[in-house]
């Protein structure tokens, strides 16, 4: 019986899987809190995590269009964090 040699693609997919497991760990902080600042930071970390996972998937599955999604997320994640922070600091005045 011969063992399958792990390829570079497998390595990238494994790295993405590890990052998803870490995302579940960060999710604990987002759910339990206790303060709203903890949750905002947690979701921001999740967003950065998502961008990296998308980039790894783009390399592993060899499809450049995934990088576009990663770019959209990198932009919108920032916007989301700013909006929630602004709401928390100055309640009732988002825009």
């Amino acid at each position: 019986m011969t063992l399958a040699v792990p390829t570079l693609t497998d390595a990238f997919l494994a790295a993405a899987a590890v990052l998803v497991v870490l995302a579940i760990a960060v999710l604990y902080r987002a759910v339990v809190g206790p303060t709203m600042q903890d949750r905002v930071i947690a979701v921001n970390v999740l967003g950065t995590n998502t961008v990296i996972i998308l980039a790894l998937l783009a390399v592993a599955l060899d499809s450049e269009s995934f990088l576009d999604i990663a770019l959209v997320y990198a932009l919108l994640n920032f916007l989301m964090a700013v909006a929630i922070s602004k709401f928390t600091v100055k309640r009732g005045d988002v825009i």
Binding site: I24, P34, R39, I53, F66, I69, M80, A83, I84
Partner: protein, 185 residues
């Protein structure tokens, strides 16, 4: 699906349950954004990048802002405990509905998630082969779009999508007219 897919599905389910059970509305909005991150990744992993990019734009960007604007117009109840009590009758009805939907709509055989290779409806050798095969073979020649899903959404049923946009625009105009205000927020 791979190990990555299963972990991602677990993440999505965890965020969805947390969104349903959390008591504080602002925390729910934040968790819903996390749910959207997971869904976009899952769509991308299932090779539907256009749906993923839509989920990224709508779920993380627009929905969060709209929900935040909404809760600024309402009052927030004081939250002593983190989770609200589960409404068991409602939860039972929801679980039953999900089970019925899964059994009726479930075009994908459950064994496929565990490594089975049962062909899905529309795959080669099943009754839907003619329709799927036509789009897979001819969509690039007919529309010039590489991704077949995008070709169907934006080209074959582009007029339909245009109609949806008109409906949303008409609804927005109607709201502005009824409220006698020129801005949405």
């Amino acid at each position: 699906m791979s190990l990555l897919g299963f972990t991602l599905a677990a993440f999505v389910i965890l965020t969805a349950v947390a969104t349903a059970l959390l008591r504080d509305t602002l925390a729910v909005i934040i968790l819903f954004a996390a749910y959207s991150l997971g869904m976009a990744l899952l769509y991308t992993l299932l090779l539907a990048p256009d749906v993923g990019i839509t989920e990224a734009a709508i779920g993380a960007g627009v929905t969060t802002i709209l929900l935040l604007v909404t809760i600024t117009k309402t009052t927030r109840p004081g939250a002593e405990e983190i989770f609200s009590a589960v409404n068991w009758p409602a939860a039972t009805v929801s679980a039953g509905l999900a089970a019925v939907l899964l059994s009726v709509v479930g075009a994908i055989p459950a064994g496929n998630f565990l490594g089975g290779t049962t062909p899905v409806t529309g795959a080669a050798g099943t009754p839907g082969e003619g329709v799927t095969g036509h789009y897979l073979a001819a969509s690039y020649a007919e529309t010039g779009v590489h991704n077949t899903v995008t070709a169907v959404l934006a080209s074959y049923r582009g007029f339909d999508t245009f109609g949806e946009a008109v409906v949303v625009f008409a609804a927005g105009v109607a709201v502005v007219v009824v409220l006698h205000r020129g801005d949405f927020v």
